[in-house]
């Protein structure tokens, strides 16, 4: 199977978030970067499929030079080769614009399967994979935890709300967006890093793949939410505290 995994390099989860002067994005200087969490699960799923059915795993990632370290990490974990879409101003594209870049890189590869993470840890749109499927004209399924190859294509396990699941059958080639937690991730090894040194990373300029078009949706500015992160202690009698808690859980935390 030829599997393409679209990965994104995002600021580390621990990252201290500071807003840059113009107020349009966060200060990137001094940030540590990492592989997006659900992309790590997508990569793991791809590697397991390769181990079972043979074939090739190619990672694709768009971004500036620093993305190279995350690409190398993916190669170290077992991907066979990589395509780096060199773009210094990815932030100026909306989700559709980014997906167009990926589609242009992926199409000539003619993969059997394209995997993306469910959503990114920074923007959290969760759309790129679905749009990519649309642009490539391929069937897709999202929130996937498990992939199995069958005679006629794929059977995948999809997560639904509130603890429900369903299986979906679809033909290949297809696009799947992978949810975190479906597999146990493998750790990076010294041997993997050494092997990665000889693997191919093809760099292609974004402008070559898809021309810059004006985005239809623009992120105008960012702000730190005023909601405090400290513990809210709820007082009063047991009944009062319980009622206050339920109210908070329903409307503030929105988990009930």
């Amino acid at each position: 199977m030829k599997i393409i995994v679209a990965i994104k390099q995002v600021p580390e989860r621990d990252a201290q978030v500071r807003i840059e002067a113009a107020g349009k994005w966060i200060e990137e200087a001094g940030l540590q970067w990492a592989l997006n969490e659900s992309d790590a699960y997508a990569l793991e799923e791809a590697l397991q499929l390769k181990e079972k059915h043979g074939g090739e795993v190619v990672v694709v990632s768009a971004g500036p030079e620093r993305v190279g370290s995350t690409i190398r990490e993916s190669l170290a974990k077992g991907a066979d080769r990589a395509i780096h879409i060199d773009s210094a101003d990815l932030g100026n594209r909306d989700a559709l614009g980014v997906a167009r870049l990926l589609a242009a890189a992926v199409k000539p590869e003619n993969p059997d399967l394209v995997l993306t993470g469910l959503q990114s840890d920074d923007l959290g749109l969760g759309q790129t994979g679905v749009i990519l499927a649309e642009l490539l004209g391929l069937p897709h399924a999202s929130l996937i935890l498990h992939v199995e190859k069958t005679e006629s294509g794929l059977t995948v396990k999809r997560e639904l709300e509130e603890g429900w699941f369903q299986t979906v059958e679809l033909p290949t080639p297809a696009v799947l967006t992978i949810q975190s937690g479906g597999n146990k991730l493998r750790y990076a090894t010294l041997m993997g890093i050494k092997k990665a040194k000889t693997k191919e990373v093809r760099v292609v300029a974004a402008s070559e793949l898809a021309p810059d078009s004006a985005p239809v949706v623009v992120l105008e500015r960012v702000a730190i939410p005023t909601k405090q992160k400290s513990t809210q202690m709820l007082g009063g009698s047991a009944k009062e505290a319980a009622a206050a808690l339920v109210e908070k859980l329903k409307f503030e935390a929105r988990v009930l």
Partner: protein, 609 residues
């Protein structure tokens, strides 16, 4: 003539096996990080451990003395033995009538008596008393060797009571000779090979305790197959006398785990015997269980005790490296630890902002390059609620003493657990990043509450740069003991020596002087270099459930049995391991306090710090 032929035959018998062993050792990979110089320490260790038999005696006094008697007997007998064969060829050079000759023969007789007594005692111990550390099976080799040695001494002593003219002299001479010539070829076929090898093994040690060698080149991932065994490892494997001292103090072996340090070494020897140093079969699996090395807490009791100079820790870590650096080790908890450190700052997988919140809440000053000390929090000090209490108390004491210190804005785990687990990729990343942080912040001196941080920063980071001097807070507090208030009517406090402070760093007195300020020091039965591990080291604190008994519970029971009111610790991991274990002892359980907390409670009540 017959004598010459027999000597040659005996020699040939010796070489037929010894030559093979020597060959296997020499054919092994060269040790890249071995340096013969500086030679001073090597000579000292050789004199202390081999000539004076210090380790042999100290760790098991009675059997040790018996063995020393046998060994010194052998040394004293060199001239006697040479003369013995010379006499057979008509070339005797020690004149029994001459003053030197007579002195020497009587001296040797004294040694022979001691040696015969010693070997008799050892025989009784091995075959009648049968301590379990010598293993289940009776060793017939040992029986034969014991018999031969006794025979040699007996024939020698008997010769004093027989006149030269007596034909019995000649019989005694031949019995003695045959005993010697039988003994010689047996040496390389049994564990008595140590007679020849162990002096070399002690002399050629790696040069430090738990000295983990750097990996060499792009193909070296640790000890995976025969081709990875180096000359030092092979030499050490062949030197093992199977005394079982390593196993006797091993926390894993003592709590029903698969790991047995003696069997690890003998497993390597078995591999070398059967397959040799050029083989590509895996070291683990056939001769030792794959899980065994991963049950090691790296407490070092094995390496510390070994009388023949075997260095178990680099071997155990080497075996782990082979499994981890290649990804062959599949362990959920291990993977979780590695993944947490791949992208996070600490071994617990908690967000760095938690540490920032703690620093702010505790009012700890930030290090700005001007203070004398950088107070390194470590993972436990920065994120564990109890570790934080210890740090806060240490800060109070440092304030009281007027010490100038600050904490770093950013810290990453020193990498101790991943280093001991054999993940060199991750360790390098952590060491390099941290060294960069230290340099950027102009840190000149570090003090920390965790002996694992101390060891890793001071020694293990040397592979990747030059760390500043580091000390443990017990060393810091001991230096100012005279300025710290002495608490009156303090309770009994049993101090538990942390492995990474005691055996690893030789620091025993400093924490005790701090404990003495707070109360009455009580020693655990196994104390100082014999301290029994709490079970957290070697990355095991992160690896989830253990099989068999819990190491921490065994040690906690020992500490509780002393009857002391307080258990004093000097390591946040020991503290964490004992917390649950002591709680199981019920309401009468001793309280658990770090030496920083013991010191802080003695500070004046109205002290503003």
């Amino acid at each position: 003539m017959l004598l010459v032929a027999l000597v040659v035959a005996s020699g040939a018998g010796f070489w037929s096996r010894f030559g093979v062993v020597l060959g296997k050792i020499l054919k092994s990979k060269k040790d890249a990080s071995f340096h013969l110089f500086p030679i001073g320490k090597r000579i000292w260790d050789f004199v202390w451990e081999v000539v004076l038999q210090a380790k042999v005696i100290r760790q098991r006094p009675l059997p040790g003395l018996a063995h020393a008697a046998v060994f010194w007997g052998f040394c004293a007998f060199v001239l006697v033995t040479l003369n013995h064969f010379a006499v057979g060829l008509g070339l005797g050079f020690l004149d029994p009538e001459g003053s030197f000759g007579r002195f020497y023969f009587y001296l040797a007789a004294a040694f022979a008596l001691a040696c015969a007594t010693g070997i008799l005692g050892l025989f009784v111990r091995r075959f009648l008393i049968r301590p379990k550390w010598l293993g289940e099976k009776l060793s017939y080799q040992s029986g034969i060797i014991a018999f031969l040695i006794f025979l040699l001494m007996a024939t020698y002593l008997a010769s004093f009571f027989v006149a030269d003219a007596n034909p019995a002299t000649r019989v005694l001479w031949w019995v003695h000779t045959l005993a010697l010539l039988t003994f010689l070829p047996i040496i390389p076929h049994t564990k008595h090979l140590h007679l020849v090898l162990s002096p070399a093994t002690v002399f050629l040690s790696r040069g430090g305790f738990s000295q983990i060698p750097a990996l060499v080149g792009d193909e070296d991932f640790g000890l995976i197959a025969g081709t990875d065994l180096t000359q030092l490892v092979s030499l050490q494997a062949y030197s093992c006398v199977e005394c079982g001292r390593c196993t006797e103090h091993c926390p894993a072996a003592n709590t029903g785990k698969l790991l047995n340090p003696k069997e690890i070494i003998l497993g390597l020897r078995g591999y070398l015997n059967d397959l040799g140093p050029a083989a590509s079969e895996p070291l683990l699996g056939m001769y030792n269980a794959e899980e065994a090395p991963f049950q090691c807490t790296t407490c070092g009791a094995c390496e510390f005790q070994c009388p023949v100079g075997i260095e178990h820790l680099p071997i155990l870590v080497g075996l782990r490296r082979g499994a981890v650096n290649t990804g062959a080790w599949e362990n959920d908890y291990g993977a979780k630890l590695f993944l947490a450190l791949e992208h996070g700052s600490n071994s617990l997988g908690l967000p760095a902002s938690d540490r920032d919140k703690f620093i702010e809440k505790a009012g700890l000053p930030l290090f700005d390059g001007t203070q004398e000390y950088c107070l390194w929090l470590g993972c436990m000090g920065g994120y564990d609620p109890k570790g934080r209490e210890i740090v806060a108390d240490l800060a109070r004491v440092m304030n009281y003493l007027g010490a100038s210190y600050g904490v770093l804005r950013k810290e990453k785990c020193t990498g101790d657990p991943v280093r001991r687990l054999g993940n060199d990729l991750l360790f390098q990343q952590l060491a390099e990043e941290n060294l960069k942080t230290l340099a950027e912040n102009k840190v000149k001196r570090i003090v920390t509450i965790c002996p694992h941080c101390v060891r890793t920063i001071q020694e293990d980071w040397k592979d990747y740069g030059t760390p500043p001097p580091v000390e443990h807070h017990s060393e810091f507090l001991a230096r100012f003991a005279d300025k710290l208030p002495k608490q009156r009517d303090g309770e009994t406090i049993v101090f538990h020596d942390p492995c990474y402070l005691g055996r690893y760093r030789n620091v025993y007195d400093e924490p005790r002087s701090v404990v003495a300020l707070a109360g009455e020091l009580v020693e655990a039965p196994r104390n100082h270099e014999r301290s029994f591990c709490c079970g957290a080291g070697g990355g095991l604190a992160f690896l989830g459930e253990e099989t068999g008994e819990r190491v921490s519970h065994v040690r906690a029971a020992e500490l509780v049995a002393t009857g002391a009111k307080t258990v004093g610790t000097a390591c946040p991991f020991c503290n964490s391991m004992f917390r649950d274990a002591l709680a199981e002892s019920g309401d009468g359980a001793p309280q658990l306090m770090d030496i920083a907390q013991l010191t802080a409670r003695g500070l004046p009540e109205n002290d503003p710090s």
